[in-house]
């Protein structure tokens, strides 16, 4: 069952191969309109793929924002049982919530946390790919990762660059959530510019220009850099549509096409 978001991300194909292999997806949101539902949707599509033969999908969730109980309940309502997947080693949860509060403003401690985190991810990916698994790494979210790194955006960027090397070395995907409105007042938001450059697909959740509404929760802009059109010529495409988030699913529709 395809929808506008699946089509924009390239998930509407009939092939067995996960279309986002080797790609970096960046989801940006703001205070008025949260974008976590996009990440939930990708997790759900990845762990419950249509062809049952693709049972070698493994997901690593690096969570700075919410505990496992939150994701478990949300994904359960979407039709995906994270706890069961974890028992079958298809889902790894890296709980980054309970990191120690640093005693001093120590940039070194912050970056060492990211270094050890990357080591952990690398080892997990290497172990999983040895069994020919298709892997996705989800990071929720980058703004909190910056806080853990004590503001060192260089450390965060290094970390993400290293994650990107995993996409080519092990053919895995990386999906990251960030809050775009944090950087809107900075003159040269290096981290955000680098992230947008680094990513293959950019998904931006924004409020409607006319304000909030009960039936339409916001609008999504999807910029897929590697999307090919019908003739096979390489190019990129921008998709715009509205959405409404529900417990069990999300409705996507073109403006005015509510229903």
């Amino acid at each position: 069952m395809d929808n506008l978001l699946d089509r924009a991300l390239g998930l509407d194909g009939r092939g067995d191969r996960w279309p986002l292999l080797g790609k970096v997806v960046l989801v940006e949101d703001c205070v008025e309109t949260g974008g976590a539902f996009v990440v939930h949707h990708i997790i759900k599509r990845f762990l419950s793929p249509q062809p049952a033969a693709a049972s070698n999908h493994s997901l690593i969730l690096v969570a700075f924002s919410q505990p496992l109980s939150h994701y478990d309940r949300v994904l359960r309502k979407l039709g995906c049982n994270l706890v069961a997947q974890r028992d079958h080693d298809r889902f790894l949860f890296f709980d980054m919530l309970n990191l120690r509060f640093p005693d001093r403003d120590d940039v070194k401690t912050g970056s060492s946390v990211l270094v050890s985190l990357f080591e952990k991810i690398y080892n997990a990916v290497r172990a999983l790919s040895a069994e020919k698994n298709c892997i996705t790494i989800v990071i929720d979210d980058i703004a909190l990762m910056e806080v853990v790194a004590n503001g060192s955006s260089d450390s965060v960027l290094d970390f993400l660059h290293y994650c990107r090397t995993l996409t080519s070395e092990f053919d895995c995907s990386v999906v990251a959530l960030n809050h775009g409105d944090i950087y809107s007042t900075t003159e040269k938001p290096m981290l955000m510019l680098n992230l947008e450059y680094l990513s293959n697909i950019l998904v931006r959740a924004e409020p409607l220009a006319t304000g909030s509404a009960v039936d339409v929760h916001g609008q999504l802009m999807v910029f897929n850099k590697g999307e090919h059109d019908g003739q096979g010529t390489p190019g990129s495409k921008v998709h715009n549509f509205h959405f409404r988030v529900k417990e069990n699913s999300v409705d996507f529709f073109y403006p005015g096409g509510r229903g």
Binding site: R73, V74, F101, D105, N150, D181, I182, A209, S212
Partner: protein, 363 residues
């Protein structure tokens, strides 16, 4: 260790592992959440039940008015009246002094603001016969009223809270003015929250933390932005695994915009209070009941724990009024009847929906 599961599908029946809490002061909500009352019944209704346990409530202050104190006071009083331990931190030298300004709950003998429902019904009988179609709260019967007070009280802002509620064990106070950094406050919060650590069993008690004017300029840590954010991140993580609610107020106008945005993103429930200018003729023409308003409250974000569905409010800005000069109420903003003869009012009246790029007033 993976135990073999015999489930055939990925769906499992949602059997709640905890029994519905019988303890006063805590109410069950959707998605397995439990609520604490904010101390303002109108605000509880607006937020869909109250403040969820395990959430961080952030109030953005207006430097021109101390209305955030109203929210903090009712929150603190509500907790003390229901025997919920409280940790209060402020930049004042002696935070305990603030406890003397906490309001007292009304007893059932006094007149209650629920009388206003019946007053309105008498005057607008024709209009209110359609009330039944809205499915809103019907006027409460006496029995329901008593049950409501187990969760949320009405507070008389003119009467101070009785001494018995302020006894030593239940209230801890801390001053943030002289600490060189936030380590001391962090440790204090950690110790406090240990008593409310969430387990799968029945909830034994709930706690409240109120932090006032966080990042006020007189605090030494004021300019250490990343240290402050680190503290909030850690506090947020601790509260997630606790049966407690933290309310924190801060002045966004005194901080850098990106720092303020980061704080706003970390909040689960985000509110802001604004002063209403006195004697503003334009506003007086635009809104009914302008003279009775003492300020405006806006709801920017409502906590979404265990769910991805956002709560979209019909109106996001409310007027703060003092009913009978003692009860705090929140009301929707109502536009005054348009003067048809002038013809210019359509151009000046605000839009009906909440606009993200809104002007000074968002209806």
């Amino acid at each position: 260790m993976a135990t073999p599961k015999t489930r055939a599908s990925s769906f499992s029946r949602n059997v709640p592992s905890t029994a519905a809490p019988q303890m006063p002061g805590v109410k069950s909500g959707p998605n397995g959440t439990l609520f604490l009352s904010s101390g303002i019944s109108d605000l509880d209704k607006i937020l869909g039940g109250g403040f969820p346990l395990g959430s961080l409530v952030v109030v953005m202050e207006d430097p021109e008015a101390p209305h955030h104190m109203l929210l903090l006071r009712n929150f603190m009083s509500q907790g003390l009246v229901l025997n919920q331990p409280l940790l209060y931190a402020s930049p004042a030298k002696d935070p305990r002094g603030f406890l003397g300004t906490l309001p007292s709950p009304v007893s059932s003998k006094d007149d209650k603001p629920l009388d206003r429902d019946s007053e309105q019904e008498k005057g607008l009988r024709i209009a209110w016969q359609y009330k039944k179609y809205f499915g809103e709260n019907q006027p409460n019967s006496n029995g329901q009223r008593d049950n409501k007070f187990e969760f949320c009280n009405e507070f008389d802002l003119r009467k101070p809270l009785q001494r018995q509620f302020l006894s030593g064990q239940r209230v801890e106070c801390m001053s943030t003015q002289d600490s060189p950094d936030l380590a001391a406050l962090h440790d204090r919060c950690a110790t406090f929250l240990k008593q409310f650590f969430r387990t799968d069993g029945n909830i034994s008690g709930a706690g409240r933390i109120a932090i006032q004017s966080f990042c006020a300029p007189q605090c030494t840590y004021f300019d250490k932005e990343w240290h402050v954010l680190s503290f909030i991140r850690s506090l947020r993580s601790m509260i997630r695994s606790s049966n407690a609610v933290v309310i924190l107020s801060f002045p966004p106008s005194l901080l850098s915009p990106s720092f303020s945005k980061r704080l706003q993103h970390m909040a689960d429930t985000l509110l802001s209070v604004r002063a209403i200018p006195d004697e503003d003729k334009d506003l007086a023409k635009l809104l009914t009941g302008y003279q009775d308003m003492i300020g405006l409250l806006s709801v920017h974000k409502v906590a979404r724990i265990n769910t991805q569905v956002p709560i979209i409010l019909e109106a996001a800005t409310f007027s703060i009024k003092l009913q009978k000069r003692k009860f705090l109420v929140l009301e929707c903003l109502n536009q005054a009847p348009v003067d048809g003869s002038s013809g210019t009012s359509y151009a000046t009246s605000g839009s009906c929906s909440v606009s993200s790029k809104g002007g000074s007033l968002d209806f």
